[in-house]
Subunit: 190 residues, 2 copies
């Protein structure tokens, strides 16, 4: 072995360790955020849940906002509906996945928490990135039927069928409400 | 004057004084909520803004949630669009009023704050009442074109055109996005 190769192996092992730590912390921080709200995402609480020392957390993520950012990264990896090719059933499937994420991850509380934090510039950027990524599959589907300003309207309208009752009333739409919303939008496109 | 009449006058004067205090406190509490967020709605801060003693506030509204509730009552009195009879322009007008309320009263932050507080049962009831009242004019208009589950979907979709970008991205729809959303819904109804 050359020392060059040795260095590279050491680098890789180190990278893998950092990546594992990051994944552990992200999972723990997201769990605290989803279950206990953004106020609970502190170095002490996340260290406790993840089984790491507070010192380790502070060395990688010095500020609380760093912990919240790493937690929110997990939202970018939420599951989405797998396309079948039929636009109506794909839209319904994607909105049901969004509804499931609201239930499984208390996404309504997370969205509400992010909105309240949005005066912090860094938080606003994180939020915009997450919501843009979250809406992308829905947007790609609707691009088959709408363009321009009608596309913007249609994305907000269908996201709103799940998000509005969740945030305004703490309720979620039934299957038939989701299907009706998709039908209203698609009838209009044809 | 009979003593009966005298008593009634005293009662009326007392009632008027209490009503005036209540209106002053509601306005001050709503202002603090809209400008500074729900965490700032404390007896000390509202007393300071309203020019009343903390003792007066504690005697009428013993808990912080009472102050938040009285602040939120003010949302029930937000302005709505005056009906012209033309459904399309009435829907557009109502959504523009909703958009104006988001700007003028930081309604997105208030909605987000209410969602975060919703684990408190009393808070959830207040929120549901306010949101139901807030949506009523939109719902009444849409009842001219939709019924049943499609009506539920249409209300969430049109409310979502304003609420979703506000809560998810801190942005508001342009006039043409609002008009497009109304057209998508109305084309589908005809």
């Amino acid at each position: 072995m050359t020392s060059d190769k040795g260095d590279r192996s050491a680098g890789t092992a180190e990278d893998a360790r950092v990546a594992r730590t990051r994944a552990d912390i992200a999972r723990a921080a997201f769990g605290v955020l989803a279950r206990e709200g953004s106020d609970a995402v502190t170095h002490a609480r996340v260290a406790e849940i993840a089984g790491y020392s507070k010192t380790t957390l502070y060395s990688h993520w010095p500020a609380r906002i760093d912990l919240i950012a790493v937690a929110l990264d997990a939202i970018g990896e939420l599951p989405h509906h797998e396309r079948s090719g039929d636009l109506r059933s794909d839209l319904i499937g994607e909105l049901r996945m969004f509804r499931a994420a609201v239930i499984d991850f208390n996404l309504d509380r997370i969205l509400a928490g992010m909105a309240q934090w949005a005066s912090v510039d860094e938080m606003r950027q994180i939020r915009d990135k997450i919501n843009t990524e979250g809406q992308r599959p829905l947007r790609l589907m609707l691009e088959e039927a709408f363009a321009g300003v009608e596309l913007e309207a249609a994305v907000s309208m269908l996201a709103g069928v799940v998000a509005c009752p969740a945030i305004m009333f703490g309720t979620l739409p039934e299957d038939d409400t989701i299907a009706s919303a998709v039908d209203i939008v698609l009838r209009s496109a044809r």
